[in-house]
Symmetry: C2
Subunit: 359 residues, 2 copies
């Protein structure tokens, strides 16, 4: 097996709350066929294969999804890293980095959330390769920064700093990460320029990120102890012990925002995290008068501007616009598209009530 | 069998278009359990039994509903008058009157639409009896006029004339019938007084209405020829021939509006024709903030003011108000309550497209 390869690590650990009721605990968002006729995980897997060889693609996922991940991606069990409990992305990334470092100490890792949409896979793979060159040569943690195309309050932003130098054209230092902004602030970013969307796509050497975990996130570093002792463990006691102690933090917060070696590669291909029914509607081109139908049989719709996620049932809409109608075999959701990002609160409320049957 | 009895004729011939998709061609509105936990037909049947003896209750319905009518009401086949095709209420009433006159020439008939809601059955039966006394003694066609409780554009109105005399206290002559008014006109009626809602509930001697059919609706009279020749026919050739020639007209238009012997009995009990999802919502007390659920499991509803007709599916509403969500096993309707009276146009459109599977 070649060493110092470029690996793809697909993070498929989501809870499936924001696409409820289509997504459920048992079938989270990466498994939904929301766009392009295939699941987001399938699409992410083929994107990964544009730059990573067959034996360099990995998926991190929860126990309950491991079987489905293997079915969808065709990956062998050895490259599906199963998390015994959910501990957010910092732990998922560290687990994968530790494991890959044990097999390929010089390996470079690209972290790909399983639930994004990036239609231009070639531009994407080119960007990852450029980021990987910088990561390999300079030990940088590189994050892709998407050039904003609208005023958007649903994403975090990256403020870019100076160019890193002639050896890596296009790459910039990161001045700071900023959380999802207010509308006023988002408008300011758009006017001012120099702000990119933080896509949550990172490229680094496995050993670089582990070193930065040690420096920036000591609690996480300690939790990884059992994995350092059994570096090839993929399941079992060592993994269980590590996860039991791991803090639940996003990798952005735990490491990227604190590290001094973070660079960004500005990219301008179309990217969406398809995060809510609203953003899916935008992604599909729902517009005043234009309804989009994902499955099912739309019998009637006199207003338009709706998003219909159909099941076997036929659907008729009369006098309504700007709605998402999400029809699943056991649960029906009707929501204003603009309010749909709050669907997470519905799921949280239902879980609180013990309604595991519908969450 | 006593003669000159008071008969109840329940008209159950509706097309089920306005409660679509809960009501269908095969299961029209009288068979739906929309209020009070039983079907409107069941409720109408028990209302009829308050003033009519067991062997004086009749139902007129379409071929496809005869079996269900007998199951719901327990009536023998001999008192279910089956229409071989739909020809609106004038023909249904004439058919029943002809048939009843053959059995009971002095019989008085009360015409009851099968799909109204009248909770106070005692007040209702008292009114029918009073109307029947006038109909029997004077040969009048008596229509119940409901005292309006709001400005309403969904009903036809009756303008009342002078009192008919001391022999029949409360009964008034009808000055004219008026079609569903504009909002401005409805407001004027409310201000001016002297207007009642035309409830479509009529009381007359069977022979009186047949005589008025002859005078006011000669085409209908001619169509009845085969039934006059075979007055006890309930099915078969004579009925088929009569229906083939019968014009399709409401009894109001064909006879009541043209007759000179029409009286009205003003009543003030609660009455609703539960004609649309909107009027059902009002009937059930849907209000801003207050959602009503007919079946199904409402998981979440942050705004309220909705009407949910549930099936086995659980329903969640987020950020929506003033909607009707009508969920049936094969068709889902989402409509603004205020637009729901237009659901008929959806059904008409679907029938035009040949979608008998969903109508």
């Amino acid at each position: 097996m070649a060493r110092g390869r470029l690996h793809a690590v697909i993070l498929a650990g989501g809870a499936g709350e924001r696409f409820w009721p289509a997504s459920r605990q048992k079938r989270p968002k990466p498994f939904l066929r929301v766009v392009d006729g295939r699941s987001l995980l399938e699409a992410t897997h083929s994107r990964a294969r544009r730059f990573a060889s067959r034996d360099s693609v990995w998926v991190v996922c929860g126990t309950e999804h491991a079987r489905a991940v293997r079915r969808v991606t065709g990956l062998p069990a050895a490259r599906v890293l199963v998390e015994p409990r959910r501990r957010n992305t910092a732990m998922a990334v560290a687990f994968a980095a530790q494991h890959i470092a044990a097999h390929d100490p010089e390996g470079v890792v690209a972290i790909l959330p399983a639930d994004h949409r990036i239609p231009d896979t070639k531009a994407f793979a080119d960007a990852i390769r450029r980021a990987a060159r910088a990561a390999r040569a300079e030990g940088a943690l590189v994050t892709l920064g998407v050039t904003p195309t609208r005023i958007e309050t649903g994403y975090g932003y990256i403020q870019v700093g100076e160019a890193v130098g002639r050896a890596h054209p296009g790459l910039r230092r990161v001045r700071r990460f900023v959380e999802k902004p207010s509308p006023a602030r988002a408008r300011r970013y758009a006017k001012q320029g120099g702000f990119l969307w933080n896509a949550g796509i990172f490229v680094f050497r496995a050993r670089s990120i582990l070193a930065e975990v040690e420096r920036c996130a000591p609690e996480l570093h300690r939790a990884l102890g059992p994995l350092r002792d059994s570096p090839r463990a993929r399941t079992g006691q060592a993994v269980e012990r590590a996860y039991r102690r791991a803090p639940s933090l996003p990798i952005d917060v735990a490491v990227m925002e604190r590290s001094r070696t973070v660079w960004t590669l500005p990219v301008s291909f179309h990217w969406s995290d398809v995060g809510t029914w609203l953003s899916l509607a935008e992604e599909l081109g729902v517009s005043p008068g234009g309804t989009k139908v994902l499955g099912g049989d739309l019998l009637f719709d006199d207003r338009g501007g709706n998003l219909v996620w159909g099941d076997r049932r036929a659907v008729a809409l009369l006098g309504v616009e700007g709605l998402a109608v999400i029809d699943t075999p056991d649960v029906l959701l009707v929501t204003k598209l603009e309010r749909s990002p709050a669907v997470r609160t519905v799921v949280v409320e239902l879980k609180k009530r013990g309604r595991t049957d519908v969450t």
